[in-house]
Amino acid sequence: MTAFAAPTTETAVTEAVRAANSQNTAVQIIAGGTRGRIGSLRSGYECLDVSGVAGITRYEPGALTLEAKAGTPIVQIEAALDAENQMLAFEPMDHRALMGTQGTPTIGGVVACNVSGPRRFISGACRDFLLGVRFVDGQGRVIKNGGRVMKNVTGLDLTKLVCGSFGTLGVLTQVALKVLPRPERSATLQFEGVAEAEAVGIFCKAVSTPFEVNGAAWQNGAAMLRVEGLETQVSYRLGALQNLFQDQNPSVLEGDAHRNLWAGIRDIHAFAQTEDTIWKVALRPTAAPAFIAAARAHLNARAVLDQAGGLIWLAVPSSEPDQARVVRDLVPAGNGHATLVRGTTDLRCSVPVFHPQHPRLAQISEGLRAQFDPKGILNPGLMAG
C-alpha cells in the first residue's frame, strides 16, 4: 500500500484529508495496523497513517478520566493507568493473535472499531466509556463532540456514532475516556466438563445474583465465572457463588493462571492458531446453546462463548461462501447478528462481512456517511453490508 500522508498533528490530518478530498483519492486510515483485516475487503487505496498523532494529553485519576490523541499505543495508556491502579474497564481485545497481524494497537483503532472484552455484558463496551472525540471528517472539517465529563447530554451524541464507524465518518484525532479503579483482587470459578447448554444455565444463574460476576465464558468444555473487587468483596462473592454451585464443585483460579485465562478469552486464543473462518455472533444468551448445536451439526463448527452467553465466537473449518447463509439463518431473526471477523480473501469478497441491515437502517447509515464523507474517500466500502 502506498503512503498518502503520515500527519503528526490534527492540523496536518486536516490538510491531508482536504488534499485527498480535492484529488478524489480514497484513503485507508491506519495507525497500528493490527485491525486492518476487519471489514469488507478493499485494496488499491493509499494509506493515511495517523500513528504519529499520539500522546496522552490529560489524565486525572481523581476524576476517572483520560484524554489521548488517537494514535496513542494502548500499552502506553495502560502503563499510565497502571501507575495509578486504574484500567480501561472495557478491556479491549488485542486482535493480533487472531488476525495474524503485527504492529502496535492504538486507542484510535479501539474506538474506531468499538473493541470491547469480556466485561462488556455488565460494565459496557468501548462506546459506554467514551466521553468525547475530536475527528476530521471527509471534507476536512474538525468536529468535536462530547467532552471529558462523565455526564453530558449536550447536543446529539456523535461520539457514539463515530465509535464503531471504522473510520468511515472521519479520522479520529483525540478521544476522552472514562477509566475505573483496577480491582484489588480478581478470581475465577472454573467448572470442568460442561457442555454449552449447562454453561449458559450456570451463567444465567450466576449473573442473576448480586455478586457482580463480570466475566462469564465457556471454552474447551469448561465454564468460567470471574469476580473482582476489593479483597473483602472477592472473598465474600467467591464463597457465596461456591455455595450456590456446591453441586458442581467449581475450582478457584487466581494469579497468573486467572489473568492468562481471561486474556485468552478476550483475544480468542483458542482459535488463533487455526486456519478456520471466524464469525462473531451476538444473540440472547439463552438462544446460544441451540445455535451452537446447529452450527456444529451443519458446519462442523467449534464455539467459544463469552459475555454470559451473549457472544459466540464460531470457528468454521471451511472457506465456502455458503456458510454465511447457514450462519445467518441460524441467528434468531431480529434478535441477533453475525459478523465475519476472519476469512480468506475470496470469502471476504463474496459474502457480506457485516450482518445485513434492515433497508431503512442501511439507507440512514449511507445518508450519514454522505453527510460527513460526501465523496466517499475514508475507508470506502469497509462497512458495506
Partner: protein
C-alpha cells in the same frame, strides 16, 4: 417576561387545523385526538413552567402503529410534531408551539416482555421510570437509571434526554442501559434498532437516538437492561468546613479504588433550608457529602471504613456512618427533599451543568461570586462523583424582571461550566432552556455536523424543530419546510 424566543407560529398551518384534525381522526380512534382549546391547554408546558403555549392538537396513540399513522398525517400535511413523554422536562424539551401537534406517549403503557434469564425488559415507552423497577423488583431486579422525577417521568422522555440520576456513578445513564428501540420515523415508517443482542451491526444508531431530544424519531418501545438488586446499601454522611476539602475527599475516594454507588453534595444554603424542612440532623457546614456503598454487610463495612478513613484525614466537622435502616432513611431524607424544600420557600431555577470533578471547588467559588454580582441567592445540591452540578437559583417569579435576572445568572454559571472543561447539561437536556448557549460550547462546524444528522432522519425538520439548536442556526433548515 420570557427571554427565550420561540418561532412565530405558521398561520397557514393553523388555518388548516380542521383539515388536520379530520385527517388524524380518520386514522386514529376519536378519543386519541385532542383538539378542543380547553383540553389542549393540558399540554401547554412541561417542567419548565415559565414557558407555555397550548399546541394546536395533541395526539395520544395506544400503539406504535397508531403513532406511525399520526406521524404520516403530519408528514403529509407538513405539520411540526413535538414528542412528549410525561412532560417532566426541566429544559422545555416538550414545550409546544401553537402550530404543532403534540405526540404523547401517555397511553403507551404495556409491558411487552420480561426475560429474567437474559436480564431484559421490553416496554412501551409511556411507562414511568419507577414502574419499570416496580414490575421486576419482587423478583429481585431493578432498572438502574433513577432520575429524581422517576415517579412521574416516562421512559420515552428518559430516552429522549438520556436521563441520569443519583446512582449513575456505578450504573451509568440511560444510554448505557438501553439495548434497543422501536421508533417511528418522521415519515411514519416504523424501524427497530438493537434489541436483545448487544452491539447491532452497522453504525451505532441506537447511541445516536438516545439523547436526541425527540428530534430524530418517536421511540414507542424500548428494550432495557435490568440488573439484580444489591444485597444492601448504606450511606455515610460527611461534613466539611470548605468546598475544597469536600472536593478533595471526592477525588481521594474515587482514586482509592472504592466505587460508591452515589456521592451527593450539598452546600450551606441548601443544608439550612433542608434542615428546617426535613429535620435530618445535618450539621450546618460549608459542604456535606452523602456517600453510599452497596453489597453484603461485610462488603459495606469494609468500603465505609475505607471512606471514613479518607474523610478523617481531611479534618471533617462530622462523619456519621448509618447504623440502621432508619438512620439511612434519615440521611437520605434531607437530600431527597431538597428540591421540595427549596420550592416551599422560594421559586427556583434548577441548572444542570457538568464540570470535571477536579474543578468542583473552583466552580462553587465562582458561583458564589456570580451570586453576589447578580444579587440572587443560590443553593447547590448535586451528584459530586460525576461532577454533575445542580445550582438552584432562588428568585421571586412574581417580581417583574426576576425571571430574566435568574436566567442571566444561570447562563453565567453554565458558561463557567464550559470554561472549566465541562458542559451545559449533564442529564436534563438542552431543550429550549440551554438552546441559545449551544454556540458557547460548540463552534459552527460542531453544530453543523449535528444538524446534518437530523437532516438524514428528518429531512424537513418536522420533529421538535425549535429545540437544541439556536433558532438562527437552524433557521434555514426550518424555513425549508414551508
Amino acid at each position: 417576561m420570557s427571554t427565550i424566543e420561540m418561532p412565530k407560529p405558521d398561520r397557514s398551518v393553523i388555518d388548516r387545523k380542521a383539515l388536520i384534525v379530520d385527517a388524524l381522526c380518520k386514522v386514529l380512534p376519536s378519543d386519541s385526538v385532542i383538539f378542543d382549546e380547553h383540553e389542549t391547554r393540558a399540554y401547554e408546558c412541561d417542567g419548565l413552567t415559565a414557558y407555555r403555549c397550548p399546541p394546536m392538537v395533541a395526539v395520544l396513540p395506544r400503539t406504535s402503529q397508531e403513532c406511525a399513522a399520526a406521524m404520516r398525517v403530519c408528514h403529509e400535511m407538513n405539520v411540526t410534531v413535538v414528542p412528549r413523554g410525561a412532560g417532566t422536562s426541566l429544559a422545555g424539551g416538550a414545550l409546544p408551539t401553537a402550530d404543532c401537534v403534540i405526540l404523547g406517549t401517555a397511553r403507551l403503557k404495556d409491558v411487552l416482555e420480561v426475560d429474567y434469564d437474559n436480564r431484559i425488559i421490553r416496554v412501551q415507552t409511556g411507562v414511568t421510570n419507577l414502574s419499570v423497577t416496580g414490575m421486576v423488583e419482587d423478583d429481585g431486579y431493578f432498572y438502574a437509571p433513577d432520575p429524581s422525577s422517576q415517579l412521574a417521568c416516562a421512559i420515552a422522555g428518559n430516552i429522549a434526554m438520556n436521563s441520569g440520576g443519583a446512582h449513575c456513578l456505578k450504573y451509568g445513564v440511560t444510554t448505557n442501559n438501553l439495548l434497543g428501540v422501536k421508533m417511528v420515523m418522521s415519515d411514519g415508517e416504523i424501524v427497530e434498532i438493537g434489541g436483545g443482542a448487544m452491539d447491532a451491526p452497522g453504525l451505532d444508531l441506537l447511541g445516536l437516538i438516545c439523547g436526541s431530544e425527540g428530534q430524530l424519531g418517536i421511540v414507542t418501545e424500548a428494550t432495557l437492561r435490568i440488573l439484580p438488586k444489591p444485597e444492601g446499601a448504606r450511606p455515610v454522611l460527611i461534613g466539611f468546613d470548605s468546598a475544597e476539602a469536600a472536593g478533595e475527599c471526592v477525588g481521594n475516594i474515587i482514586k482509592s479504588g472504592v466505587l460508591p454507588v452515589a456521592i451527593e453534595y450539598m452546600d450551606r444554603p441548601c443544608i439550612r433550608v433542608v434542615e428546617k424542612f426535613a429535620k435530618a440532623g445535618y450539621p450546618l457546614c460549608e459542604a456535606l457529602l452523602i456517600v453510599e456503598v452497596e453489597g453484603s454487610e461485610a462488603e459495606i463495612a469494609d468500603q465505609l471504613s475505607r471512606i471514613t478513613k479518607i474523610a478523617r484525614a481531611l479534618n471533617p466537622v462530622e462523619v456519621r456512618v448509618s447504623e440502621s435502616a432508619e438512620q439511612s432513611a434519615l440521611i437520605w431524607k434531607g437530600r431527597k427533599s431538597a428540591f421540595g424544600a427549596m420550592g416551599q420557600i422560594n421559586d427556583y431555577m434548577c441548572l444542570d451543568g457538568t464540570v470535571p470533578v477536579s474543578e468542583l471547588p473552583y466552580t462553587l467559588r465562582r458561583i458564589g461570586e456570580l451570586s453576589k454580582q447578580h444579587g440572587l441567592d443560590v443553593a447547590n445540591v448535586f451528584h459530586a462523583g460525576d461532577g454533575n452540578m445542580h445550582p438552584l437559583i432562588l428568585f421571586d417569579a412574581n417580581e417583574p424582571g426576576e425571571q430574566e435576572k435568574a436566567e442571566a445568572f444561570g447562563f453565567d454559571i453554565l458558561r463557567t461550566c464550559v470554561d472549566v472543561g465541562g458542559c451545559l447539561t449533564g442529564e436534563h437536556g438542552v431543550g429550549v432552556e440551554k438552546r441559545d448557549l449551544m454556540t458557547y460550547q460548540f463552534n459552527a462546524d460542531d453544530l453543523e455536523g449535528q444538524m446534518q444528522v437530523k437532516d438524514v432522519f428528518d429531512p424537513t425538520w418536522l420533529l421538535n424543530p425549535s429545540k437544541v439548536f439556536p433558532l438562527q442556526v437552524s433557521a434555514q433548515r426550518r424555513a425549508g419546510r414551508s
